[in-house]
Symmetry: C2
Subunit: 342 residues, 2 copies
């Protein structure tokens, strides 16, 4: 297996080094062909590596960066003021060809803006999008855009569809993934003008298994492999999922806590509940891809655990190994002049 | 307590009479002050009443209607061809002042179109909306619009906010309900132009406890009492909730089914799971209000159970008793000329 190098923003997210460094340690022991460039403030980073006994690891390189993009930093600060941030320096590694992918748990808006500024979009891509795997009763699907773009035009939705299709072909090995548009009904007459026009364009798109509209509940029924939507709608849907799943989890805990009988019954229910947790675990689905850029960038949830950050690293490793940006470029601009960009 | 009369489309929904008539029977035994006009095809309706021993019930009137709007009938068919449908005749009862509310499990598009055509909108209301209660960790909130309007303009979102506020004041007795706009971030700069403009209008609205933006996960955290959104976004969010809850339910059943040990542990977990079911039960939250019309119209889920249809009847009874349309009229057009409409 060819060598893959990931550049990791070691400082990003709510928990920074205490999550990123242990995750990197576990990831390296899983994958022999993997190298990691850890980007961050040299002293705390060296300290965290020593704690994990990683200070002399042959496959870890440290790349210093003096600043950290805070979770609440405005995009303009990340872009114009913090030019030596761990986030930006990690993305620079991809730009310079030293890494094939960058991973950060830093704030989404900043990560997208810096990635777009540093790496640029692929030819044929007007707007990069955010894409992630979503659990379904049949396994999972991929959904995009999840918030990078509001007010997407029909042509943008078509680009999202092509990018999602290329991604799923690469990571799931599914040659003809079912592509659907998220809508408020399954009949052709439903939805707004944007959706109807996008549907007409998708029906006319060659080499695409476009299966029509899917509703919010259809996402989870396994009706599609790629669910395409505007970023406003996609973000609301994604956050709704998170909210419902969290509320149900809390309710289960509250119900268990209500009486001794219930505590006992809750204890006995553990095998069932842990089976459920394994399938719905947000850690397992952590790692959203910023697609449409000249390089792989993966965004981890800011508040994720070590396990969750490992999932994001796995997403980046797989997309880098399969060279997803090249596949997206081929899908979006098959007849364009050879790409002379980075 | 003053007498309330509900007109019930006895034929609507996936299960028609087998759900609506038993639900009406239970509802009448709960509420002494309630009268029901059952609307439907005379023979099957009489037969269903006999089965329940209700043929001579003093508080049931039968209103014949020859036709039924099918779940997949286009709006145009319901509106122009089936003028003697049980759905339409039920709404006519409200128009003619014989009932204070109509309830139907028939198809949503048809119900909204026929209601709007027959009852007309209240002064100051450009577009009626669909509103329902949503479970949250703190109890519930109300959310609108859930699919009647796509591409809502900022002024429409403000009308939705005013209607939702009036509804919650009436049914929850909450004088200053917290009103929020559904958005993809909580900061002022997030979202599309429509949302930012609506936010500015809501901040300037007198007598409203506008609390700002709420994200998809915030709906369930109990951050607002009224969640306002465009119908496209609201419908996707609502269906997402249904889809996630159903998937989790299925996963729990599958996990329980996996082995004898798990079956046993699942059995012992029943008190916990039934506590959970009670709180998340879709039946309990069945019954969406069509707000902004000159009369109360409540839409039941098409595939609901007897319990679920009772919930929809309860929503209608409460809104009729509190005279929600008059409160919405006062909220939307406080300085308008006296209403001379129906």
């Amino acid at each position: 297996m060819s060598v893959v190098t990931l550049a990791v923003d070691a400082m990003g997210g709510d928990h920074g080094l205490s999550v990123t460094v242990p995750a990197v340690a576990r990831m390296l022991s899983r994958h022999d062909h993997l190298n990691i460039i850890l980007v961050g403030q040299p002293e705390p980073l060296a300290e965290a590596l020593r704690k994990q006994g990683l200070q002399d690891h042959a496959r870890i390189t440290v790349q210093p960066a003096a600043e950290v993009v805070a979770m609440d930093d405005p995009v303009a600060v990340a872009l114009r003021q913090k030019k030596d941030s761990s986030m930006r320096v990690a993305i620079n590694q991809v730009k310079e060809g030293k890494a094939q992918a960058a991973v950060s748990a830093g704030n989404t808006g900043a990560l997208m803006a810096v990635s777009r500024f540093v790496l640029k979009t692929l030819p044929g891509v007007d707007r990069p999008a955010i894409c992630t795997a979503i659990p379904t009763s049949a396994g999972h699907c991929h959904m995009l855009d999840l918030g990078a773009n509001v007010d997407s035009e029909p042509a943008h939705l078509v680009q999202f569809a092509l990018m999602g299709q290329a991604l799923v072909r690469a990571v799931d090995g599914e040659r003809h993934p079912r592509v659907a548009l998220l809508n408020i009904g399954e009949e052709d007459i439903k939805g707004n003008e944007q959706i109807k026009e996008a549907a007409a364009l998708l029906r006319a798109t060659a080499d695409m298994n476009y299966v029509g509209f899917v509703e919010g509940n259809g996402i989870f029924a396994g009706e599609a492999d790629v669910v395409v939507c505007d970023g406003f709608v996609g973000n609301v849907s994604l956050k709704t999922m998170e909210g419902v799943a969290k509320m149900i989890g809390n309710m289960i805990r509250e119900e268990i806590g209500q009486s001794w009988l219930r505590k006992l019954s809750g204890l006995l229910a553990l095998p069932v509940l842990s089976g459920l947790k394994k399938r719905m675990d947000p850690d397992r689905y952590n790692g959203a891809s910023l697609v449409g850029l000249r390089g792989v960038v993966v965004k981890s949830h800011g508040g994720t655990s070590v396990e969750g950050f490992i999932s994001a690293l796995e997403v980046a490793e797989l997309e880098a190994r399969r060279n997803v940006p090249a596949l997206i470029r081929d899908a979006l601009a098959p007849e364009a002049a050879p790409d002379t960009g980075a």
